[in-house]
Subunit: 226 residues, 2 copies
DNA sequence: GTCTATACCCCGATAGAC
DNA sequence: GTCTATCGGGGTATAGAC
């Protein structure tokens, strides 16, 4: 099906990439909510109306950025967990560190996908699957957690997690402690990163690095991974 | 020192309150970063320039809102933990639920203080102390956690936590597991709330309530509170 | 303290010439 | 595909009359 791209297609592709890259850079200066097509056009040295040939609207630009960001984050997560010969606690630690390292290196990209929702913007369904790919490695690890969720209501509420896991080739039985462990562990990592990026540790922690290390180690213990 | 307020002072006080209330309502529609003095003035039916008699700038308005929000949140946290006769695990659960309930009831206020930082705005120092008051009850509970932090680097980094705790009349020795427990537990609660408010549990959890309950119970267990 | 008016910016999106 | 021009909004902040 795919033939050699015409020069025209190549030019278009290139301009699309330039727009996305510029938008991302601008987002790092003013935040996701203040992303503007006009500023992107200014930066590229073209008329704002020209950008509309490549991007339907500001919201579409946001959506495409979200897809790019989730993709890169998922790549980083998978790369961090590439060594499946390591023990589970180590793999978990690698995943957690991959998340945090990426977040600290790209705080605005992180904010775009995990930060405060942008008022007036609703992410379309296409963004859901890329979002779950980030969690794949963690689900694979959590699949080894033993035990059962005691509370029936929680057990029922966690049921969809088993389906998600199945999509990644991970078998998690409905009601297994694996799903609860995944939510709890993911919450801890998220919370630490967001507090750190938000500056809420300033004055409270001299250095977040070793503390994160310990927090991750604690979650691994709690999960019975070590 | 304080005398009966003159009518003038009373009027001024009242207008200040109206401005703050209106700003907060507007924030709930467009988000913290899009808060605008003009819109507040429009809503109040006055000229935008009139508002500048009460508020120095948009940033000052943000700062004052942050102070109000931290104050209310701290009140909610303290109210939730008022019953100190309950066992520690129960008190911890009450604190966590107070946080989440308040966050779900006031998602934009929550975002103002714990969400993505607003580009171009830096919170002044005055906001630090009210921020820590929110954590007071949790620190009090965590003071009962036993054990020691094994890693020397983490131990050193956590040192300032002991000072903070001391300000609340809680004694936490430097290097005690209490400080690490506080960071870990606070991270978990933060992460869960932010994921929930960000809609990241949609499709993954049928009902977040019982799952949160279980997550909190797990942290209590892990801390040895129960 | 409030008003009108103003200076000087910003934005999304479209029309129509080239 | 790119341009200029435009519509119709938005914003911070200040000056000066009342």
């Amino acid at each position: 099906m795919s033939t050699t791209p015409t020069p025209r297609q190549r030019a278009r592709e290139e301009m699309e990439q330039r727009i996305l890259a510029t938008a991302r850079a601008q987002m790092a200066e003013v935040g996701p909510a203040q992303l503007s097509l006009r500023a992107v056009a200014r930066e590229l040295g073209v008329a704002s109306s020209a950008v509309y040939r490549y991007v339907e609207s500001r919201d579409e630009l946001l959506t495409r950025l979200i897809l790019v960001v989730f993709g890169e984050l998922a790549d980083a997560a998978e790369a961090g967990c590439a060594d499946t010969s390591a023990d589970l606690a180590t793999q978990w630690s690698h995943w957690a560190h991959a998340m945090r390292d990426w977040a600290c290196a790209h705080p605005y990209d992180w904010a775009l996908v995990y930060g405060t929702p942008i008022p007036g913007y609703a992410a379309p369904r296409d963004t859901v699957e890329p979002a779950t790919r980030v969690l794949g490695p963690a689900l694979r690890i959590m699949g080894h957690v033993h035990g059962e969720v005691s509370d029936p209501a929680a057990k029922a509420s966690l049921a969809p997690m088993s389906e998600f896991a199945h999509a990644f080739g991970v078998t998690i039985e409905v009601g297994s402690a694996s799903s609860l462990a995944a939510i709890a562990a993911w919450s801890t990592i998220q919370g630490f990163i967001n507090l750190e990026l938000g500056g809420h540790f300033v004055g409270g922690l001299l250095d977040a690095d070793p503390v994160f290390e310990q927090v991750v180690a604690r979650t691994a213990e709690q999960l019975g991974l070590s």
